[in-house]
């Protein structure tokens, strides 16, 4: 049985200048896909079907998608956990009525590229495919206790052509279950 540790994650600024123009992922059926981020504001969100923290954000993630997808923001929801199958991801998405597509990340390669550590964890990319915000969706697992929404703040800013108010926050959640090497 997997123990889902809830840990804080301190992001580093190592990849500030790195770009991610193409994300190579898989559909829940296992088919390979490429997602282009070039010329688009893209939110890459690492999520889980089993992590209780990630699941507490299901409704908030759906709301984010519904609020910003129509404004031209591309969302790429990624499940990099190697102990969660495509079938499980598909069943979970259906169960919680996600309005968006969730991709698998075989070998957690995309998680490795971003150095993502937990779920949920967000990387917001600007139109040049570089990271302009990384970290948490908001500041509280319990939606009733949210006081700050740094992802929404960043999205509103970039859509208005302004600099994001905070480029980095601490993501918190469950560790991504990577392949054993």
């Amino acid at each position: 049985m997997i123990r889902w540790a809830v840990i804080p994650f301190f992001c580093s600024a190592w990849a500030a200048a790195q770009t991610y123009p193409t994300l190579n992922l898989q559909t829940v059926d296992g088919a390979s896909v490429s997602v282009s981020t070039a010329g688009k504001i893209t939110a890459v969100v690492f999520i889980s079907t089993k992590c209780p923290v990630s699941n507490d954000y299901n409704d908030r993630m759906s709301a984010l998608y519904n609020d910003y997808h129509g404004k031209g923001v591309q969302f790429v929801f990624v499940n990099s956990n190697q102990n969660e199958s495509g079938a499980e991801v598909a069943a979970h998405a259906k169960e919680v009525s996600f309005p968006f597509t969730v991709y698998k990340d075989a070998g957690n390669k995309v998680a490795d590229q971003f150095r993502a550590e937990v779920t949920p964890q967000v990387y917001l990319l600007g139109k040049d495919s570089s990271v302009i915000y990384r970290g948490a969706i908001d500041d509280a697992r319990n939606a009733a206790r949210v006081t700050r929404q740094p992802l929404r703040d960043a999205l509103d800013a970039v859509l208005a052509g302004k600099a994001v108010p905070a480029a980095e926050t601490k993501a918190f959640g469950c560790t991504i279950k990577r392949v054993q090497t």
Partner: protein, 155 residues
């Protein structure tokens, strides 16, 4: 004679000048123009590894079933800066002309118009019957045997 043969061969392939724009306003008419044939619309891009991998197999299917009324229509999602590379790839793999380039005014609207269930990830292929009705969508690198069976069913 040799020059004539080169011309005839080249005429059947895509070239830079032949990348036709497709967008919200002409996608439906582009599909309708192929009525009477079974049509596979394949969205691809040069940066997309699985797209490049599956293209030769799609071309082989197009050649195999051309006489029975099957047609492959490719639409690249590349940016204009990559069009030359896209055309070089199409030429290299002898992809049937005409080839298209997605140049939508609103990308999200165009993607939804093609298929509401499509996220925009590549490759994506859509199979239309002889009446121009979409009958199957393939998201991600297609399983060729599965696609071939679907095509044969419609021919």
């Amino acid at each position: 004679m040799r020059a004539f043969l080169i011309f005839v061969l080249a005429a059947g392939l895509a070239s830079a000048a032949q990348l036709k724009p497709v967008n919200e306003s002409n996608y439906a008419s582009t599909i309708s123009a192929a009525k009477g044939k079974v049509l596979l619309v394949n969205f691809w891009a040069t940066y997309c590894v699985p797209c490049r991998k599956e293209m030769p197999e799609l071309v082989a299917l197009a050649q195999k079933y051309k006489a029975r009324g099957f047609e492959l229509l490719t639409i690249t999602a590349d940016e204009p800066e990559q069009f030359n590379d896209a055309v070089a790839f199409l030429d290299q793999h002898r992809v049937p002309a005409p080839a298209y380039a997605k140049q939508a005014k609103d990308d999200d609207k165009f993607i939804t118009l093609v298929d509401p269930k499509w996220s925009g990830a590549l490759p994506a292929s859509f199979l239309y019957d002889r009446n121009g009705k979409k009958v199957r969508a393939f998201f991600g690198e297609v399983k060729i045997a599965e696609l071939e069976a679907a095509i044969k069913k419609l021919l």
